[in-house]
């Protein structure tokens, strides 16, 4: 039932949308409810949905990197955001900001906090996916017979 055509098609459309939504949640988090954590959950659920529709093997292929690598990268981003300040001689985790003027969006604050939030998001995605992939063979119907 999971491999029904409708679901597959729906998921094809849904996954990119969800990923986009996840990025949006993360980016707006600094100003409105949202943030890296919620964004990460949405992104992870996109992949979980994909796995439900197309199987874990496919999902792993689409993800391209191991969830563990995502975890490592996420930590690297978050730690890096803190260490960046140290490298510039400021206290650890001091917020650093660039204020570029982008043509379409207007004034934009690009800060180390964003990098930090990106790290959080990557870790959340990595965590959920690693957990789900670890228990994949306990999920009925997930692994192709």
């Amino acid at each position: 039932m999971i491999y029904s055509l409708i679901l597959r098609v729906a998921v094809r459309l849904l996954v990119p949308l969800l990923l986009l939504f996840a990025m949006f949640m993360m980016l707006r988090g600094h100003n409105l409810p949202g943030g890296g954590f919620v964004g990460g959950l949405v992104a992870a659920s996109a992949f979980v949905l994909y796995a439900l529709a197309a199987g874990v093997t496919r999902a792993r292929e689409v993800l391209y990197v191991d969830p563990q690598t995502l975890l490592g990268l996420g930590l690297a981003c978050a730690y890096g955001a803190g260490l960046l300040a140290l490298a510039l001689g400021k206290p650890f985790l001091t917020g650093l900001w660039l204020h570029p003027h982008l043509p379409l969006i207007g004034d934009f604050h690009l800060g180390s906090a964003l990098l930090f939030d990106l790290g959080v998001m990557l870790v959340v995605v990595g965590t959920v996916l690693l957990m789900v992939f670890s228990v994949e063979d306990r999920l009925p119907g997930l692994v192709e017979e």
């Binding site: 100003n31 409105l32 409810p33 954590f37 965590t127 957990m131 228990v135 306990r138």
Partner: protein, 130 residues
């Protein structure tokens, strides 16, 4: 309202403690989930309650004006929720894994690490071996 939340917290804690002491490890896990909720609610109440005023600075303003919900406990709870999710997921899988290894989720039977060893003494001569 804080008072009501206090009572709710107490009730949730009591329910969770009771479930933690049950012999089925699944109920133990359920107890843990309730425990997490209860503790978060406790912190929330400790920050005092403010209705419908999220601590978000409106566009165009630089500071919050008037009454607003206490943001600090919210941040703490966010951290605590995520942490307890991590711990909970681990615990759940641990219980499952322990079931796979021992074929039991009865907590009374979880004693592979604490076998009931007899004492190592010479009972006939009533001496301790050296």
């Amino acid at each position: 309202m804080e008072l009501i939340i206090s009572v709710v917290c107490g009730a949730l804690l009591a329910a969770s403690f009771y479930l933690l002491m049950r012999r089925n490890l699944l109920r133990f896990v359920i107890g843990l989930i309730i425990l997490g909720n209860a503790v978060n609610l406790l912190i929330f109440a400790m920050g005092r309650l403010t209705r419908a005023r999220p601590p978000v600075i409106p566009k165009g303003q630089k500071v919050l004006e008037g009454a607003y919900a206490n943001p600090l406990p919210q941040a703490l709870i966010l951290t605590a929720i995520v942490i307890s999710f991590g711990l909970l997921a681990f615990t759940l899988v641990l219980v499952y894994r322990n079931f796979a290894a021992n074929q039991t989720i009865e907590s009374d039977e979880v004693r592979g690490s604490e076998p009931s060893d007899t004492l190592d003494v010479y009972d006939e001569t009533k001496r301790l071996p050296a």
